[in-house]
């Protein structure tokens, strides 16, 4: 198995996440697409780490997972607060920061 194969796979998954962020209107699904993008980058880092024989990539994945956990907790709290105020999670209706 080559390094390139893993990189191609992660590129494809990343772009699926980009499409999800751009095309979906539900804030929670947009958020899950962001998690998908984070995970595809983690796959790139682990693949590089394995094929270059260096542990730094896996450490970076460990810290990225910590940040992702914190981000998920905060993001979902924000979504709950928005839902409480507006009774919706459709991002077309949540536009008070739009100029």
């Amino acid at each position: 198995m080559e390094l390139q194969s893993y990189l191609f796979l992660s590129a494809i998954t990343f772009v699926i996440g980009v499409v999800g962020v751009l095309s979906r209107r539900n804030a929670i699904i947009v958020f899950m697409s962001i998690e998908l993008m984070l995970n595809s980058v983690n796959l790139t880092l682990v693949a590089f780490s394995a094929f270059l024989g260096d542990v730094t990539g896996q450490m970076l994945v460990f810290f990225a997972m910590t940040v992702a956990a914190a981000e998920a907790a905060i993001g979902l709290a924000i979504i709950i607060a928005m839902f409480r105020n507006k009774q919706t999670v459709n991002i077309d209706d949540i536009n008070i920061l739009k100029w």
Binding site: A11, T13, N42
Partner: protein, 196 residues
């Protein structure tokens, strides 16, 4: 004396070569695992993006995380693979499913909205990003150092990761605890009933 010093060395050599043969999966199994798990990963990602119901999306995302955990295992990153299953598929996705059910969301009404120029620009940009990434990855082949995949069995173990975490990466590890504390406080404050 001389015999004593030679004998253990020979034994350790034998041992290391036998463990290497044992730990290194055969090439065909590796290719089979990569294509199976890769297909599951891409397929579940596509399903996640296209489902109307948020609960179905979350379940397909969990499937995607399990496939990624398998890919990490095939790259000999044991620790990261188990953390992926425990933290992502376990903790984070439970939080997502919990919030989806708490908000009692229905299906998204219009998945395919009217045909607008924004959609075309978005699809074009996504395609551009994909082509760019594939081109960069394909082109980078000549510049990469030679593969050291034989060493991968040693670097991904819990022992080695723990050793690195508490020596080289001790400061980032400690900063992480502050980040998690801030996240706990932030989540409690944001989800409170009234913001004062």
């Amino acid at each position: 004396m001389a015999l004593e010093s030679v004998a253990p060395k020979k034994q350790s050599n034998q041992q290391s070569s036998s463990t290497n043969n044992f730990l290194r999966p055969s090439v065909t199994i590796e290719i089979f695992l990569f294509y199976t798990l890769g297909a599951v990963s891409v397929g579940s990602a596509l399903m996640m993006v296209t489902r109307r119901s948020p609960v179905m999306s979350a379940l397909y995302l969990i499937l995607n995380f399990f496939a990624l955990g398998g890919l990490y295992l095939s790259l000999h990153a044991q620790f990261i693979a188990f953390i992926q299953i425990l933290v992502y598929a376990g903790a984070i996705m439970v939080l997502f499913v919990f919030v989806i059910m708490l908000l009692n969301l229905g299906d998204e009404k219009k998945l395919n909205e009217r045909f607008s120029w924004k959609k075309i620009v978005g699809a074009g940009l996504s395609f551009g990003v994909l082509m760019e990434l594939l081109f960069v990855f394909a082109y980078s082949k000549a510049n990469l150092p030679p593969s050291q995949f034989e060493k991968a069995t040693e670097i991904g173990t819990v022992e080695n990761i723990g050793m690195q975490l508490f020596t080289t990466f001790l400061f980032p590890f400690e900063v992480t605890s502050v980040l998690l504390l801030a996240a706990i406080v932030g989540a409690v404050v944001l989800a409170k009933k009234k913001l004062n």
